[in-house]
Symmetry: C2
């Protein structure tokens, strides 16, 4: 609590301590860049290219605690606006609770199917869109919008930046999981209020992602929705503009 009554996690104190005791910490923290070798660089691209949204390939093999901690640590290393680190990670393994989460998905998914018509509806209904019960671990990633007080460096002009930080944490975890041989599927088809009630998530905490997590021994070599004919990859070149909106780029 600051003298002016604004709670900011005692950061003014931190700043004073820094100025008094660690005048050169910032200087010492700036180090020469160690380049990535070719195989290191290629490995990052490999994880990016081979990452898939997994719905059905989960094995029942338990995910050990130390592996789960590596994945969560990858998430925790995401960028965050004003170093706010607004995320929490709710790990769900209990089969009964996952069954109830699946029911919440299933209700919403039936509503969703009704929003399509004809062949498209038939196609939608043929797709498996989650692995809530099959994946041994479910993970809810949230965003605490009040963490660090009301004024956050970098969020002053874009109030969504904390949400974006939590999404970056999801993507970090997803890529780390691919490197571990673990598949991840992002479930977005559910009523927020129902999921919130099931897991006791307070109203001021935003649910960002409901993830299904587990080892896999097969993966699609292209996005599953492309392989199954739902939608195809766009040409990257057509998505790039140069200097202003709509001006085609040569690169």
């Amino acid at each position: 609590m600051r003298a002016d009554g604004v709670c900011d996690g005692d950061l003014t104190l931190h700043y004073r301590e820094y100025m008094m005791h660690e005048p050169s910490r910032a200087q010492k923290a700036l180090e020469p860049v160690r380049p990535f070798s070719t195989i290191e660089r290629d490995s990052v691209y490999r994880a990016i290219k081979e990452r898939r949204d997994v719905r059905d390939q989960f094995l029942p093999t338990p995910v050990p605690d130390d592996v789960m901690m590596r994945l969560l640590s990858a998430a925790h290393n995401a960028p965050s606006v004003g170093f706010m680190q607004p995320w929490n990670f709710l790990v769900v393994r209990d089969p009964q609770r996952r069954e109830r989460a699946w029911e919440i998905f299933n209700n919403a998914n039936q509503e969703a199917a009704e929003m399509f018509s004809g062949d498209r509806k038939q196609s939608y209904q043929s797709l498996k869109l989650e692995g809530i019960r099959k994946a041994p671990v479910n993970l809810i990633v949230t965003c605490d919008r009040n963490r660090g007080g009301p004024v956050i460096l970098g969020r002053t002009h874009n109030k969504q930046m904390d949400i974006y930080s939590a999404v970056c944490a999801v993507q970090n975890l997803w890529l780390a999981a691919r490197a571990e041989g673990i598949g991840v599927g992002w479930v977005s088809i559910f009523e927020d209020a129902s999921m919130r009630t099931l897991f006791g998530i307070p109203d001021d905490i935003e649910i960002i992602a409901y993830l299904c997590i587990g080892y896999v021994d097969t993966l699609y070599n292209e996005p599953e929705l492309a392989a199954k004919g739902w939608r195809q990859r766009l040409k990257l070149e057509e998505l790039i503009f140069s200097e202003e909106w709509g001006r085609a780029s040569s690169a």
Copy 2:
């Protein structure tokens, strides 16, 4: 345009073609997982751990077109809801345009400084929060919320999913950039309307991220805001819950 007048990018046609001509594409696309070797896995974690939000370490060295395309390809390989791929990439190199973008930042940043008080305001004003003019490349990542028609698989119950997809694209690019020896800084302090006008971005396109991109030869070995005493890293263990909100996890 479908028979019922809903534009969905001729995807019903795609589905029919798929059913008629490619009945086994999905089966063929499911392949055994190739594990990551130890060095490959460690490289992914290395990129995640060493990625920094860069504001001042940019070198003037040009970023070649082929490297830029690799970064954008990494972004384009992000997950997207319903395989919507809602992003565009606006590459800005023109120094005059970057100067004008910086002015937009600078106006907002002065407003932002006024939101802090005392030591905290002084500290805020001492931080360099962007590299718009110093980085040779700026990149605006956007989200086209209407791409693929009004009903998107997976966005039916969470309207923000397309935005989250575009954020995942940013994080993919950021990690790829680290592996290339390229720094990235995310600028969020600007008036949306001013930036939109400067680059001619239509009202129905959402600006997700304004990125500064360039080679670096030094990087902070911890988040710059931590090194400079603004805010410190939270303990991961305290952010993890088990089975329900607030229940401490042993793992």
